[in-house]
């Protein structure tokens, strides 16, 4: 399949990734992405019959006693960019 990445692809990906690279950065990222993925297309040689493996461990349903754990909301809250009445204040989204 055609894997060549265009500057438009990178612009679109940047907006999904919440990044706004400059025009110069976009050129660099496009060139890097093409060079890297061209080399990585080596994996096309892997047999398609392989089962995808996300983790080396099997997925187990690990349970722990349902006990209340102490948390320190002050430590968490001091990281907030803006706070009101103990809540994080986020910018409007629409």
């Amino acid at each position: 399949m055609e894997k060549k990445i265009t500057k438009q692809d990178i612009e679109r990906v940047a907006s999904i990734a919440r990044l706004s690279p400059s025009t110069e950065e976009l050129d660099g990222l496009t060139a890097d992405a093409n060079a890297i993925l061209e080399y990585f297309s080596l994996i096309d040689e892997i047999p398609d019959s392989e089962t995808p493996q996300t983790y080396v461990l099997s997925h187990d349903n690990a349970l722990r006693p349902d006990e209340e754990k102490k948390t320190d909301p002050k430590g968490i809250r001091r990281g907030f960019s803006r706070e009101q009445d103990g809540y994080m204040l986020a910018p409007k989204s629409f």
Binding site: L19, S20, I43, T51, V56, G75, F80
Partner: protein
């Protein structure tokens, strides 16, 4: 006369009262104050707290009260691991002033065993790199750049400065420069073993799921492990015995058992004649011939002294390691980095506009170049239209690589070879081409793809640059793997 590992000598001296914890700490602080302006390993130093901890340990020893396994040993911590109320920067502008609300599980364990935590260490930004030049703050310099023939720092003005490896470059540098007895680091694709090899120290990446990652800022969750760095295999085994084990806050540890502490027979094997060590030809093919020869010489010496059998093997899937690893790291890293939005913690947005521009601005301004590249590629290859061609294919490649390593480890007890294909390079080299830098990880990423325990032991020096020998074990054989590393270490002395 038997030469004791340095870590064991220090432990014995502290427990017997010959060396106080406070005196040990002051020696380390003096070394940091004298040489860290050249090495630049530390992000933050915790001298006041460390002095209090050392005094408490000394009081316990004087009163003949029981002390922990790490009593009085000075430990430094890679700054992707949370230490309560201290800065957790990940060597990034994004988290430059972020204070950890709690201790990581491994830090709780250090404290419980009476370790003295001296400070936090530099690394590549969010652990993305192989040479520690990608820290947003400053590059750490390999202390061997300043060493004389005895391994002492005597030439702090040396003009040729070498990288310490990465991403845990400063963890290895701090051990090599004697700024600490032990260091905590993380290894996602070789980030403990590469700097161990480059700085001439010992480092170990445990089996995936052995050490709780609670309180560690994640880079790629399916690969990384926290592990020890030390002057010797004994130190790695001792620190691993403390940090390993089950933790309800990290489900990957649900079936693990803490690795046992090194005992008197740690570096001795009763039955070496039955130990088969696989030597894959692919580990030597692309390596610098000088490195390949140094490793082969060390292996031959070890085998003749111990009676282990070296078995030539082939693992052709090694060549798929780099693409499989990086494609999956990109994907997991892009996902892990979504939480850095400037709202909950870390760098704060300047103006309060609408959500998306606010988040984009703060991320663009505060995330470094290599991290951005990885986020972009990870986002690209996991979009619906490209996922099958890249992400899913990389997951299949991971299974393919794993099957070949499992097969090799069914026929052999261990696999050994070089840790890194090349010697440490000078700071500034390999900066322009990211792919060239990635390819340096070819011999370390397989252990992460397969979740295997793997460590690096110094085995030679070429000029002033150390060479690392890598030992890879079977899943869960962490103690046996470090024990073999200890045997290799002692076979190379004298």
């Amino acid at each position: 006369m038997e030469i004791l590992p340095k870590t064991l000598s220090t432990t014995n001296a502290i427990r017997s009262g010959k060396l106080t914890a406070s005196a040990n700490l002051e020696q380390k602080i003096a070394a940091v104050e004298k040489h860290d302006s050249a090495v630049r390993a530390f992000i933050e130093k915790y001298y006041d707290d460390a002095r209090k901890s050392a005094a408490q340990v000394d009081a316990k020893i004087t009163a003949e009260k029981p002390v922990g396994r790490l009593a009085g040993l000075v430990v430094a911590v890679k700054n992707v691991i949370a230490v309560k109320d201290r800065r957790l920067t990940c060597a990034s502008r994004m988290l430059e002033n972020y204070l950890s609300p709690y201790d990581a599980a491994v830090v709780e364990k250090l404290r419980a065993q009476d370790a003295i935590i001296i400070g936090s260490l530099n690394c590549d930004e969010f652990a993305c790199g192989s040479d520690n030049t990608k820290s947003a703050f400053f590059p750490t310099v390999n202390p061997v750049s300043f060493f004389d023939e005895k391994g002492e720092i005597t030439n702090a003005n040396a003009s040729e400065k070498y990288v310490p490896g990465g991403s845990s470059g400063a963890s290895a540098a701090a051990v090599a420069a004697d700024f600490c007895d032990l260091a905590l680091a993380t290894d996602t694709g070789g980030s403990i073993r590469c700097p161990a090899a480059f700085c001439g120290v010992t480092g170990f990446k445990p089996t995936y799921g052995t050490v709780s990652r609670y309180g560690m800022a994640d880079m790629a969750m399916s690969f990384e492990q926290i592990g020890p760095m030390a002057p010797d295999a004994y130190g790695c085994a001792l620190l691993l015995s403390v940090i390993s084990g089950k933790d309800y806050r990290d489900s990957t540890t649900s079936k693990t058992v803490a690795t046992k502490a090194p005992d008197a027979s740690f570096a001795a094997s009763a039955n070496n004649a039955k130990i088969r060590i696989g030597v894959p030809k692919e580990f030597f093919e692309g390596a610098d011939p000088k490195v390949a020869k140094a490793v082969k010489d060390a292996m031959a010496r070890f085998a003749s002294k111990t009676g282990c059998e070296l078995v030539p093997i082939s693992i052709p899937a090694v060549r798929f390691g780099i693409p499989a690893y990086y494609l999956l790291v990109y994907s997991e890293f892009a996902s892990a980095m979504q939480k850095y939005d400037g709202l909950k913690y870390g760098a704060k947005p300047e103006a309060n506009e609408e959500l998306v521009p606010t988040v984009s601005k703060v991320r663009t301004a505060n995330i470094g170049k290599e991290c951005k590249r990885r986020i972009m590629l990870g986002t690209y290859i996991t979009t619906k239209e490209h996922k099958d061609a890249w992400y899913t294919k990389a997951l299949k490649a991971r299974a393919y690589v794993r099957a070949q390593f499992d097969d090799a480890l069914a026929k052999c007890d261990f696999i050994i070879g070089p840790t890194m294909p090349n010697l440490a390079w000078k700071i500034g080299e390999k900066a322009a081409d990211p792919l060239q830098s990635y390819l340096e990880d070819v011999l370390t990423v397989p252990a992460n793809l397969c979740g295997l325990p793997a460590g690096s032991v110094p085995c030679a020096r070429i000029g002033k640059l150390p060479v690392g020998l890598q030992v890879i074990g079977k899943r869960g054989s962490d103690y046996e793997t470090i024990s073999l590393m200890a045997q290799i270490e002692s076979s190379l002395v004298g």
